[in-house]
Amino acid sequence: MITILCNGESRRLEREMSVEELLASLGLNPETVVVELDGRILSRPDYAVTKLTEGATLELIRFVGGG
């Protein structure tokens, strides 16, 4: 069990997981989300290979369609 901070709220995860796995568990399409992990904006390929570890601070910016 690890704890991360996601958009200012503490969230417990059963295990270390990738950013992409976290987004899937939240029901979010990774294509529509900008991810800042510990102050760094991740590139899209990083989502699958970046592991969330204890104490990670995550900001998710989710987009919806229309313009």
């Binding site: 529509t32 910016i61 919806v64």
Partner: protein, 268 residues
């Protein structure tokens, strides 16, 4: 002295608008004094600025700039005239945004879209029925030229990708994201944050439907990076894109672009 179009005339007590018209531009139909229309009998005061307009005649770049100075705070126009703004997507957000920026005299616009004008666009986008089938870039360029022919408009008439956004928009002062597709909205912000650190940014998310006006807001994500919308109202069956609410968001974006160009960058 009285300033009249590009000239200075010595002030004489009792001078009226009609005197200036007969001396400088006898065919003028409309006279603007200090920014407001004035009838021929109006008495002038020393230091007044007059602009004589003949219907159907396009004012010169200098004349138009001076007329815009009169409506905007002094100093604002010089900054806007030097500025370059990029707009990604020329739909319900991007087309009214471009129109607003051209009206305010932003000097350089770089417009990107791959699409053509379709009938369904006319419910909210700034195109005309005689423009159906034209590339949006060309149609909007033509419209902007009818509003302010002195805006330099560059067009990028193809589908943007995350990879080529930096090359297309390096060097703009502010970049506005007006895409429809949520994947491109995310991709644009991601690549702008990573690769365009000196460019101001105004994105968008959540503009569909006819929900609460005031749920549309401008959120500061970080220095010189903003996001406009309610964050939730996706375009989907049962919740279409409508001129009123998309227009609110487009003009939030326009005002935020202007604020960034003028050096204002603060939390609301």
């Amino acid at each position: 002295m009285i300033s009249v179009n590009d000239l200075s005339l010595p002030y004489e007590p009792g001078m009226r608008v009609a005197d200036v018209v007969s001396r400088v531009k006898p065919g003028a139909d409309v006279v603007i004094v200090n920014g407001f229309p004035a009838p021929p009998t109006t008495l002038l005061a020393d230091g007044d600025r007059c602009w004589l307009i003949q219907r159907g005649e396009v004012p010169s770049a200098a004349e138009l700039a001076h007329l815009l100075y009169a409506r905007h705070t002094p100093g604002v126009q010089a900054v806007l005239q030097q500025a370059t703004v990029g707009i990604m997507g020329l739909g319900g957000l991007g087309s009214p945004l471009a129109v607003a920026l051209a009206r305010m005299g932003v000097g350089h616009l770089r417009l990107a879209d791959y699409d053509v004008v379709e009938p369904s666009n006319l419910n909210r986008q700034h195109y005309f029925i005689d423009q159906l089938g034209q590339p949006k870039t060309a149609a909007l360029r033509a419209t902007l030229a009818r509003i302010n022919p002195y805006v330099a408009v560059e067009c990028i008439d193809r589908r943007l990708t995350e990879a080529d956004i930096p090359a297309c928009f390096a060097g703009v002062d502010v970049l506005a994201e007006c895409f429809d597709d949520p994947g491109m909205k995310a991709a644009a912000l991601r690549v702008a944050l990573r690769e365009l650190p000196r460019v101001g940014y105004v994105g968008s998310s959540g503009v569909a439907g006819y929900g609460d006006n005031n749920a549309i807001r401008t959120q500061r994500l970080r220095a010189r990076v903003y996001l406009v919308g309610d964050g939730e109202s996706a375009a989907q069956p049962g919740q279409g894109l409508m001129a009123s609410r998309v227009g609110i968001a487009a003009h939030h974006q326009a005002n935020q672009v202007i604020r960034l160009l003028l050096g204002v960058d603060e939390d609301a």
